[in-house]
């Protein structure tokens, strides 16, 4: 774990108001694993006061990439950062995805900005494993396919790809999923993750999810990010330290 001030290289604008910021951060780029996150302070002022968690979207040499959309004060400041300005990074934090398990196909299921951690995931996936990406959104404005491979798209309103939820789309493709051993890797809105959990258990698929939570510190001291564990009812797990990636069967969503 480091606290580093890293230089912004540039900001790339994708479609639909999604931004990707490229930052020179050799300390982080050499350590970070897919699914781990950074807790970022965008300004020295007290507005915003706390850091905000961001998953690392991609890594290229000494550069890291973060994907975000402008939602509040912090992301507004981040969006205005120009080359040569700095962001204050604390990380890498948490546990990422387990890529090396026994499976043949990684099934990515991403909803909206939940696509953020997967470009780096795709890059780091062992060569002997295949990828299918299921990407969902309410409308085509929410579909993010940046850095993904072998993509199937669903939208609730049918404005792009399959009409229905991403779970409906998975069910449509059960035949493909049942060929060989798969493992699902998912990130997105909580309602989608709940449905993914149900889907994985019903079909007996392995599944890891990356979940979000409000948090202050990001490394286990504030206790602000509890998630109910299925194995220990006496104690919460912490999203920052025990996650953000969990085996979907280990947590109550």
């Amino acid at each position: 774990m480091f606290i580093v001030k890293s230089l912004v290289e540039k900001t790339i604008e994708l479609e639909n108001n999604i931004l990707v910021i490229k930052v020179y951060s050799p300390e982080i780029s050499s350590e970070i694993k897919p699914g781990q996150f950074l807790n970022i302070r965008v300004s020295e002022t007290y507005s915003p006061l706390l850091r905000r968690p961001f998953s690392v979207c991609d890594v290229e040499g000494d550069f890291i990439f973060l994907m975000f959309n402008v939602l509040g004060e912090g992301t507004k400041i981040l969006a205005q950062k120009r080359k040569g300005e700095t962001i204050d990074i604390l990380g890498p934090l948490g546990h990422g995805f387990n890529l090396d398990d026994d499976y043949q196909t990684a099934v990515i299921v991403a909803g909206g900005l939940g696509a953020a951690p997967f470009p780096y995931f795709v890059k780091k996936l062992p060569n002997d494993k295949r990828i299918i990406s299921f990407v969902g959104g309410k409308t085509n404005n929410e579909v993010i396919t940046y850095g993904l491979k072998n993509i199937l798209i669903s939208t609730d309103d049918g404005s792009l790809g399959f009409k229905g939820t991403v779970i409906d789309l998975l069910n449509e493709n059960l035949e493909i999923l049942n060929k060989g051993k798969i493992k699902i890797f998912s990130c997105g809105p909580n309602a989608m993750l709940k449905a993914i959990k149900e889907f994985s258990i019903k079909n007996n698929f392995e599944c890891e999810v990356s979940i979000e939570s409000a948090m202050a510190c990001g490394f286990g001291i504030c206790q602000g990010c509890p998630v109910e564990s299925t194995s220990n009812k006496e104690k919460y797990s912490l999203v920052c330290k025990d996650g953000p990636v969990f085996n979907v069967r280990d947590i109550v969503l």
Binding site: R41, Y46, I221, E234, K235
Partner: protein, 305 residues
């Protein structure tokens, strides 16, 4: 650099400098040690301990507010037994005064915890949390009840020779009256202030953002309130004060000392920069050098009103 004396005393407790890490913002030291040299800090105040482990409140536990944050963790902690078995061994590796914070639901539980913990040499003092706003039983009720605060002070003092610091609630009309009772019952010092009760609503769902409905407000937003409470105690009661409330940098520390604090605690700032205490100590030394202050303790209560 000339020799600056940064040491301070809180009753019989001697600290190498006035900068302590506040309860609930340093865990039990292990996570923080990745970022900060604990041997340089004035002292660590542990996360509140209760007799038995506590699970704490369901999410959502944290909300950011303008220049502050609301938390309703609900005293999630490992309990006294696990603390002694699993957390103390790590802390023994460091030469840093350990102040053990105790939270309880009854006077008997405070006494029981203190009796068990007082035998542990690593613990140099106790800070009694009579003012946590985020648990249903105990906590705030004690903090608001002047007789209970007196009783807890008396009973805890009776079962330990170590300094007893009472952490006071700001959610009262006259905090100095509580400090006075602590002094009368033999308490060695007071910490002021714990968090201020606050809440926040989602305007679309009309539901409170925190599962616990209310939480404790901390951060720079509460600094002026905390300073006024410290000043009130300093003017009316002769008892050492550990100032707490939104300290972000060395200037805030100096301000708290001028208002009457003998030492201070850093809380919310640890979440943003876990190395902030070490930076502040360095800055305080530079400040003392620049202004020819030989002993930092000279600052305590040096206000000119």
């Amino acid at each position: 650099m000339s020799k600056i004396d940064l040491s301070v005393t809180i009753g019989s407790l001697k600290l190498r400098n006035p900068v302590l890490l506040a309860s609930g913002t340093v865990g039990y030291g292990n996570e923080m040690s990745e970022f900060i040299d604990l041997n340089k800090i004035g002292g660590i105040v542990t996360k509140s301990l209760s007799l038995k482990p506590r699970k704490g409140n369901p999410p959502q536990r944290i909300i950011e507010t303008p220049a502050g944050m609301l938390n309703a963790i609900g005293l999630a902690n490992v309990g006294v037994e696990v603390f002694l078995k699993e957390k103390i061994p790590f802390l023994k590796n460091y030469d840093v005064p350990l102040i053990c914070n105790i939270a309880a639901s009854s006077i008997e539980e405070y006494v029981e915890c203190t009796k068990i913990l007082t035998y542990e040499d690593t613990i140099k003092a106790f800070e009694i949390n009579v003012s946590c706003p985020n648990v249903k039983e105990g906590g705030l009720q004690f903090g608001n009840d002047i007789h209970a605060v007196g009783k807890i002070t008396e009973k805890v003092k009776a079962c330990t020779n170590k300094p007893v610091i009472i952490k006071l609630s700001p959610n009262v009309s006259y905090i100095s009256e509580f400090a006075k009772v602590v002094k009368e019952e033999g308490g060695d010092a007071v910490s002021a202030i714990n968090t201020l009760v606050g809440t926040s609503f989602n305007i679309f769902t009309k539901r409170p953002k925190l599962h616990n409905v209310t939480g404790g407000l901390s951060g720079p937003a509460i600094k002026p309130v905390a300073l006024a409470k410290v000043l009130e105690i300093k003017r009316l009661v002769d008892i050492p004060i550990i100032g707490i409330g939104g300290i972000m940098n060395w200037k805030d520390v100096v301000e708290f000392m001028i208002a009457g604090s003998s030492a201070i605690q850093i809380g919310t700032a640890n979440f943003i920069n876990p190395n902030v205490a070490e930076e502040i100590i360095k800055d305080l030394e530079n400040y003392c050098t620049s202004y020819s202050i030989e002993k930092i303790s000279e600052l305590t209560g040096s206000y000119k009103i």
